[in-house]
């Protein structure tokens, strides 16, 4: 059977196998339309006349097509202050508790992975500046990471359209952005330089070790795209990258208790988060 993007069922299966091996993301027939749209985009971008010729180009990695292809498949749409109840939890509960466990002068490290085009790590920075009174008293290191190198470049550039800013109050847009066009804004340099961006693949064992140990990790809305084995690996990577007693924030549809029993569930006023055992237990 041949489908809309011109690929047969067998070709679709091979493509999904390829995507799985490269990213750990599993796409079943139910996601076929999602996959087809991206295939069509890449076929158009590369001038490929058929799926077979495009897949051949992909497998041969002509002009770095593998990376471009993976970039097209990662889910990057987000916006500032998305699920901000978790940021409220961060400033009201998590950081205070982490400070109780830290040595004086030790920096607070926060990781946003995946960070897509940077909305989340910049949101964390803005939120802390606006809502955490102790922000001036501590060194706070915020790192954004993603498998998609193209979005990391966009994150570093810090340029956004109106849609990404839709949940930010106007005064915060005024304060932390410079309008660069009728429909575009750029994060002010001071804030842009305060967030570091790095590539990472969460589904490869040990891949994240070089990022060090964090007090809080935001890993939202990505584990649901992983197959069970990759999800387990990602959970163990995140575990390794958390300090004892550190916190993991997942997307609201995700539950770590179904992914891995490594973490303890903590319920705070604004969010349910997951804590690595070993530090000062907080319930």
């Amino acid at each position: 059977m041949v489908n809309e993007a011109g690929e047969t069922d067998e070709e679709f299966r091979r493509l999904c196998d390829f995507l799985y091996r490269r990213t750990g993301m599993l796409f079943s027939d139910s996601k076929r339309y999602f996959v087809q749209r991206r295939i069509a985009d890449r076929m158009a971008a590369t001038g490929s006349s058929s799926f077979a010729s495009y897949f051949s180009r992909l497998r041969s990695d002509v002009d770095g097509e593998i990376e471009r292809f993976i970039n097209a498949f990662t889910v990057n749409e987000t916006y500032f202050y998305r699920e901000d109840h978790q940021f409220r939890c961060l400033s009201n509960d998590l950081l205070t508790r982490r400070l109780n466990s830290k040595l004086p002068g030790a920096p607070i490290r926060i990781w946003s992975a995946p960070c897509a085009t940077g909305e989340e790590p910049y949101s964390i920075a803005i939120w802390l500046l606006e809502n955490w009174p102790q922000v001036d008293a501590y060194d706070v290191e915020i790192i954004g990471s993603d498998i998609d190198t193209a979005v990391l470049e966009a994150a570093r550039a810090g340029q956004y359209g109106r849609r990404a800013l839709m949940r930010l109050p106007a005064e915060l847009v005024e304060k932390y952005f410079v309008q660069t066009g009728p429909e575009s804004w750029r994060i002010i340099d001071e804030l842009r330089e305060s967030v570091r961006f790095t590539p990472v693949n969460l589904s490869v064992p040990g891949e994240t070790k070089g990022h060090g140990v964090f007090d809080v990790i935001f890993c939202r809305n990505v584990l649901i795209y992983f197959d069970p084995a990759s999800r387990r690996v990602a959970a163990e990577n995140l575990f390794e990258n958390l300090a004892p007693g550190g916190y993991l924030c997942l997307g609201h549809t995700e539950s770590m208790s179904r992914i891995s029993p490594l973490f303890e569930v903590r319920r705070y006023a604004d969010a349910i988060v997951y804590q690595k055992p070993g530090g000062r237990a907080d319930g």
């Binding site: 802390l128 060090g212 140990v213 084995a229 575990f239 490594l262």
Partner: protein, 205 residues
Amino acid sequence: MPLIRTTSSKPTEPPAPSRAGLTSGSSEERWTAARAAGGSAQNVAALGVALTQEQDPRVREAIFTSLALINTDESVEAVLPHLRSDDAQVRAAALDALRAMPERTAGHLPALFADADGDVRLLACELCRTLPLAEMHAMLGVLLANEHEANVCAAAVDVLADCGGEEILPALAQCARRFISDPFLTFSIKIASQRIASQRPDRGE
């Protein structure tokens, strides 16, 4: 404006991977060894031995993950015995690891469904979720027709309610008749059947 500063020093590097074996050393060393072992199929036997001895749930999770990553018939065989563990946490971890190796696990399902232990048959139902629909129907259809424990049938019904197609409706109806005196199971089957029927492609068209 207050600043959020990136630290000038490099992040703290975790300790280098330990050379300690899977069954010796501290929990941290065994965890590191277990994670590293996932890179080679030659480690399956050692992982299997470690799994039978490991008491730390965290390290056990890492062993299960590495076996799932290696994803060979031998990995599945190392995990399968733990489905009958007395420890519910171990059974759940084994189930999760087998779910991560669906193609390798599928061949073991007939034996699991023939197991004398009802808990094993119950867990085997969960493993059918990843089967192609026709295979799932064939496997669970036989179970619905012959299984004598209502709890095991209920587990199959749970799976079918989520993943089943209309071809399984007669088998569900037959199972409901067999367990007519079990109100929970007949109710579960009724709900599952309604859900499956409501998802027919021609519904409302």
